[in-house]
């Protein structure tokens, strides 16, 4: 256990979740939102979390990023207990949440506001990330001038400009049309490969989950728990039309076929592959 922990803290971007529980109080009675979550994410891994509404996947993400703080159990990043937000953990929300009064480069620069870098270094970092997400030329644009897809790319750049240990994405493409969504999935994959950053993506789109993730975590609702973890041992770039892809996708979809409500008891979560 000790050796495991010291090994984990040497590699950056290792996320350990053990016996994570969370509940809310609703009119005096406790409402269990997350039940005994156990998950280990290795550095540089891309993990997709799928589930229908109410399975607690967004809550899990908010706990990891530190926007929610009341939990029982262990939530460790590189061996350190997660308490509150930190620049080590970046997040992209479903809405782009860009500040409407700032230009694209100022919005991204906001991430570096308190960074101990010189102005020149900050400008460089911002420009680098604008290029990374493919928005060169749009530095001075205002959010209301951008399309939904472009705005979301700015949000991704803002989350990455701090070189966080781990990148979290909460249904980032849910508000976009299908064509933009597919395009941005490709972009995200390219960026992840370029950066090598540990990434957790929450989505209700199974195809997106299988396309992007090294493993797919299927969650079930009421109470939110991990039902199954499926590895996706396919090489990048992935072909959506290939047989192996379709097989894995069907496998994941089958988890949703059986009605979660009739599940007699929460299944023990499988250890990560």
């Amino acid at each position: 256990m000790e050796m495991e922990r010291s090994m984990a803290s040497n590699s950056t971007g290792t996320l350990e979740i053990r016996h994570l529980n969370k509940q809310y109080e609703v009119e005096g009675a406790p409402l269990k939102v997350l039940s005994d979550i156990k998950l280990r994410i290795a550095p540089g891994e891309f993990v997709s979390i799928v589930g229908s509404s109410g399975c607690g996947k967004s809550t899990l993400l908010r706990l990891i990023v530190g926007l929610e703080e009341d939990y029982q159990g262990e939530l460790l990043l590189d061996g350190q207990r997660i308490a509150g937000t930190s620049l080590e953990r970046g997040i992209v929300f479903q809405e782009h949440r860009l500040f409407p009064w700032l230009t694209v480069e100022d919005n991204i620069g906001l991430g570096l506001l308190n960074a101990p870098l010189t102005e020149g270094q900050k400008r460089f970092a911002v420009r680098d990330h604008i290029a990374l997400v493919g928005l060169r030329g749009f530095e001075k644009a205002l959010p209301h001038q951008l399309s939904g897809g472009m705005a979301q790319r700015v949000a991704i750049a803002r989350a990455l400009v701090n070189r966080p240990e781990i990148l979290l994405l909460d249904e980032p493409f849910g508000a976009l049309d299908a064509i933009t969504r597919a395009h941005l999935q490709q972009e995200l994959q390219r960026i992840w490969q370029a950066e090598g950053i540990t990434t957790i993506l929450v989505t209700h789109d199974v195809e997106e989950a299988v396309f992007l993730g090294d493993k797919v975590v299927v969650m079930a609702p009421r109470p939110g728990r991990i039902r199954r973890v499926l590895p996706v041992p396919l090489a990048h770039p992935r072909q959506r039309a290939s047989l192996e892809f379709a097989a894995i996708k069907a496998d994941v979809m089958s988890e949703f076929g059986s009605d979660a409500a009739t599940d007699p008891a929460p299944q023990p979560a499988l250890a990560a592959a």
Partner: protein, 295 residues
């Protein structure tokens, strides 16, 4: 196509080491106290209400002491006890009702007039671009002159009897009502109008079944705003040129240096103004609830 990134200092590590910044939202401890005693829960519910009292009570106390120990001359500020006594007296003797009645009749008459005229103007401008082209510039020019700017002119034209007051109050209400009605109708999404065209609505049906309900929120805003202005105009015109009404009461008290009467009348003005505005708010809730139930 990967883009090479510049090797930056791991600045976050530097930050983490020098982490002096307190988190914005203090972390909630993970073990919460299980059961709050019912007393504590009751206090939590009441406290926000109670905490708003100390300040005004303190002011009241200072006021009372100031008069008691004559830190302030009674002509400058009468004691709260005197004001209260005067208020009670005014209500008991029935004086106040007479004045209130005059004022309320005036403001309602003027407001109704302004509402009707402003509403008609706003609807006409909203529905007919031709009408708007002809009328809007002149309307805009007229609305640049605040209500009070018209007062001397109107005094010359109609004297200082009831007509003056009602016309002034009507004018005060007219501009916000007309403007908001016009803007509200303009803001009705074209898609609703198109549905009405496809379903071959008559002009009247279009107005009553599509445009007015859709524009209700901004129109009602205009109505409330118009009433505030009407009330404002009422007080001014009664301060300036009237021999009855609550505005007149204020002036009367002032002339006789009876500040307790002035303060009592001010309290009444505030209370009545508040009550009327609240009534308008309630009407809005009523009307929109009915509409929402329809969906």
């Amino acid at each position: 196509m990967t883009t090479p990134l510049s090797p930056l200092l791991n600045h976050r590590a530097v930050l983490a080491a020098a982490e002096l910044r307190a988190p914005l939202a203090p972390g909630v401890p993970s073990a919460q106290p299980r059961l709050l005693s019912s007393a504590r829960r009751a206090w939590r519910a009441l406290a926000p209400r109670l905490v708003s009292w100390p300040f005004p009570l303190l002011v009241l106390l200072l006021w009372y002491l100031g008069c008691r120990f004559e830190w302030i001359a009674p002509q400058v500020l009468p004691s709260p006890a005197t004001v209260w006594a005067t208020l009670v007296d005014m209500f008991r003797s029935g004086d106040i009702w007479l004045h209130l009645q005059v004022s309320l009749v005036r403001v309602f008459a003027g407001f109704a007039l302004g509402l009707a005229a402003g509403g008609a103007l706003g609807i006409a401008m909203g529905l007919s671009p031709t009408f708007k082209d002809y009328v809007y510039p002149l309307f805009k020019a007229f609305s640049q002159v605040p209500v009070l700017g018209w007062l001397p002119l109107l005094m010359l034209l109609v004297g200082i009897d009831e007509t003056l007051k009602i016309v002034l109050i009507a004018k005060a209400a007219l501009v916000p009502v007309a403007l908001n009605t016009y803007k509200g109708i303009q803001g009705v999404p074209t898609r609703y109008i198109e549905v009405a065209r496809v379903l071959r609505f008559t002009r009247w049906q279009l107005l009553t079944k599509v445009v007015l309900p859709a524009a209700f929120a901004p129109i009602w805003n205009g109505v409330r705003y118009g009433f505030t202005h009407a009330w404002l105009a009422l007080v001014v015109v009664e301060l300036l040129a009237s021999s009855e009404g609550i505005g007149y009461l204020i002036v009367y008290g002032r002339q006789l240096f009876q500040l307790d009467v002035v303060l009592a009348a001010v309290v009444v003005v505030g209370a009545v103004g508040f009550a009327l505005d609240k009534a308008l708010a309630l009407i809005e809730v009523r009307l929109t609830r009915w509409r929402r139930a329809g969906f």
